[in-house]
């Protein structure tokens, strides 16, 4: 006899309302079903109603943790349409802030992973060390979340020498902590008991299901937008893309922590190589807040590597007479990784549900776009993949 356990919409393992219907036989998982749509905020529609300058504010608020990635992706797309050249110094600042964000996001994730397997001490100490990055972000941008650093055409704040000093100092002590964690994860016996060989995503399946980000790199696929399709200053900075061959949850954890170490190197190099120059593009020099007018006709995709994977903003502009974009489509990495969750949960037990869900570093608020509500009758309709494809055309 099987019975259904509702993981969500309210559940301690999920930090956002989502509904996973898990069908169990004893402890073993027989079937998993997902119901999205609790957090739909209509952001894509909202972006169509705003001009580019106001749109970037909204894009930034798609997700609190990867707000630089969202605003950067939006800015890249808009700059591409306008054929605008961003000053080199702005590119470097974007890179540095994006890497700081990756650091804090990955450390946050590793702490949450510790909590999901019941390791409270790991959770607390990781979040304590994460504060070092949060302090840096606050110092550079003025905010702990939603940094508002990116503008269409450049960046808002400069990184001065005194900032650079503090960044290097904090990163040094953070590097020591991270090296310790990279050792703890694959050696602590209870962590191993919970993470090793659990939630396996074979390399072939990861390719078929087009997983992205650390989920894919944990399955031995070396793919990273920063290296494959460089944006901002990544083309000028040498760095490695760490991959792990474990295919399990542990591999995904180790990949993230090794990426953190790599991020620290990137920031150090960028601080050293950062050229002098202005922060905003010449074309928007007269406008202190960035672009606040229409852009020429065009249709482009802005693509960045967010902490969770490949993030895309597809943007379409229908001419300068319109203030903002006529259509923006956001493809977030969590959406790309959801098919992989079902693969990873196959044959596992209830005990693995939280850690496997966490292993894709789920961020549902940026994933929502599937429920369709009829305005007159208030009837809800859930669209499947095929219908969605047709709607998008």
């Amino acid at each position: 006899m099987t019975f259904k356990v509702p993981v969500g919409p309210q559940h301690p393992a999920l930090h956002e309302p989502e509904h996973f219907k898990v069908e169990l036989e004893g402890e073993e998982i027989v079937d998993v079903d997902l119901r999205l749509g609790y957090m739909h905020r209509g952001i894509e529609k909202g972006l169509q109603d705003r001009n580019y300058h106001r749109g970037i504010y909204l894009a930034e608020r798609v997700c609190g943790i990867c707000s630089v990635a969202h605003s950067l992706s939006f800015a890249l797309a808009a700059e591409d349409i306008a054929d605008m050249q961003v000053p080199e110094r702005a590119d470097y600042i974007r890179t540095i802030v994006a890497e700081l964000e990756r650091l804090h996001s990955h450390i946050l994730w590793a702490g949450v992973a510790g909590e999901e397997v019941g390791f409270q001490t790991l959770f607390m100490t990781m979040w304590r060390d994460r504060e070092k990055v949060m302090d840096l972000l606050e110092m550079v941008t003025g905010n702990r979340v939603n940094y508002s650093i990116n503008r269409v055409g450049g960046v808002r704040e400069d990184i001065e020498d005194k900032h650079a000093e503090k960044i290097l100092k904090n990163l040094e002590s953070l590097e020591e902590d991270l090296k310790r964690y990279v050792e703890i994860f694959p050696s602590d016996s209870t962590v191993l008991a919970r993470m090793k060989d659990k939630g396996i995503l074979p390399k072939k399946k990861a390719q078929e299901l087009s997983a992205s980000g650390p989920v894919m790199r944990g399955s031995d696929i070396k793919r990273d937008v920063r290296a494959d399709d460089p944006y901002a200053a990544y083309g000028e900075i040498p760095f490695d893309v760490p991959v792990e061959t474990g295919e399990d949850v542990l591999a995904k954890a180790v990949v993230r922590l090794r990426e953190c170490l790599e991020s620290i190197e990137i920031i150090r190099y960028a601080l050293d190589a950062m050229p002098e120059g202005s922060l905003m593009s010449d074309e928007v020099q007269g406008m202190p807040i960035g672009v606040n007018k229409g852009l020429p006709v065009g249709e482009v995709t802005g693509r960045v590597e967010a902490a969770r994977g490949d993030l895309m903003y597809h943007m379409k502009s229908e001419g300068e007479e319109e203030d903002g974009p006529s259509r923006v489509k956001i493809r977030t990495p969590t959406l790309a990784n959801i098919p992989a969750v079902f693969e990873m949960l196959e044959g596992e037990s209830m005990a693995e549900v939280p850690i496997v869900l966490a292993s894709i570093d789920q961020c549902f608020s940026c994933t929502e776009r599937i429920a369709i509500v009829d305005k007159e009758t208030h009837e809800k309709e859930i669209k499947n993949m095929q219908e969605l494809r047709e709607m998008e055309r």
Binding site: F3, P12, E27, G118, M124, T190, R194
Partner: protein, 310 residues
């Protein structure tokens, strides 16, 4: 008349409800404070568990419609009664004779099982999928740690040559049977549902297991039971392996037995906190394997040694 009065005093005041309430909550507070400092937090004030229980008792008693049953409502009372009865049978002071006759160890072992069984029944009766899942896990875990608990208790009894907790165990048997003491210490987190064996209550997996549907005074009673259980089990360990409560005279000052009992019990409680802070939660079959594998072997070895050598 005198015997009846004595019983009421011991049940209500010492070492019954009032005493075990105060020190059970206090130990929980100390446990939380130490854990917080180990995790580089400040942690709640030591009196926090008192506030929590006080608040829970003043809350509205809500029982979900589908959980309405005699078993769901009665489980917390049965659990609380059993653990208080166990407390008055465990020697906590050298002066007042605890209740129970020559077989009190066996009675205490049974009584300490009743809270777990009450929680399991309450979980099943709650008709919540999380409660049922938690109770399923709890039964498996019960089979795991209880075997170790009983074997090690019997090992101590073999060394003592008696089942009478009040008078039989006067020695520090931890030196004669260190293996049994270690095995029992590792079984205690399983009995108290502390990490790495908080599997039946695993918060991120099954919300709160059998306790999911409990709220208000009923939840308070279960929490209270849980905290007193810590005191009772630490007390049982003290009585079995650490010579029980002994009053010590230093110069002109006589320290009563209850103080040494509390110190010993606190040491046991802190050891459990340490284990809790350095581990992740295991999976249920890993826990069973752990108890019936290496720990079971050690426990049986200590029993065989006790029977053959002594």
């Amino acid at each position: 008349m005198n015997a009846a009065l004595e019983f009421f005093v011991s049940y209500l005041l010492f070492p019954g409800i009032i005493f075990s309430f105060i020190f059970g909550q206090l130990f929980e507070g100390i446990d939380r404070k130490i854990a917080a400092h180990m995790q580089s937090r400040i942690g709640p004030p030591i009196l926090q568990p008192f506030y929590d229980i006080g608040k829970l008792f003043t809350k509205e008693d809500i029982t979900p419609e589908k959980s309405q049953s005699f078993f769901f409502n009665g489980a917390p009372l049965i659990a609380f009664g059993a653990v208080i009865t166990a407390m008055i049978m465990i020697p906590v002071t050298g002066v007042i004779e605890p209740l129970g006759g020559s077989l009190s160890l066996i009675v205490v072992l049974y009584l300490l099982n009743i809270p777990a069984i009450a929680l399991i029944i309450g979980g099943y009766a709650s008709s919540s999928p999380f409660g049922v899942l938690g109770s399923n896990r709890y039964i498996i875990q019960l089979i795991g740690y209880e075997l170790i608990f009983i074997i090690t208790a019997i090992t101590a009894a073999v060394h003592a040559g008696s089942y009478n907790l009040a008078s039989g165990f006067g020695n520090w048997f931890i030196f004669r049977a260190p293996l049994a003491a270690a095995a029992m210490l590792l079984a205690v987190p399983g009995k108290l549902l502390k990490t790495p064996f908080d599997i039946p209550e695993a918060e991120t997996e099954i919300v709160m297991g059998p306790l999911t549907e409990y709220s208000g005074p009923k939840l308070a009673l279960f929490k209270l039971t849980h905290n007193i259980e810590l005191l009772a089990i630490a007390g049982l360990f003290t009585a079995l392996f650490l010579g029980g409560p002994v009053s010590v005279t230093i110069g002109a000052v006589t320290i009563p037995g209850v103080v040494t009992f509390l110190i010993q019990a606190l040491v046991v409680a802190i050891l459990i906190t340490l284990i809790r802070c350095v581990t992740a939660r295991l999976r249920i079959h890993q826990a069973l394997k752990f108890y019936w594998g290496p720990i079971g072997f050690v426990a049986f070895l200590s029993l065989i040694l006790a029977v053959m050598v002594w």
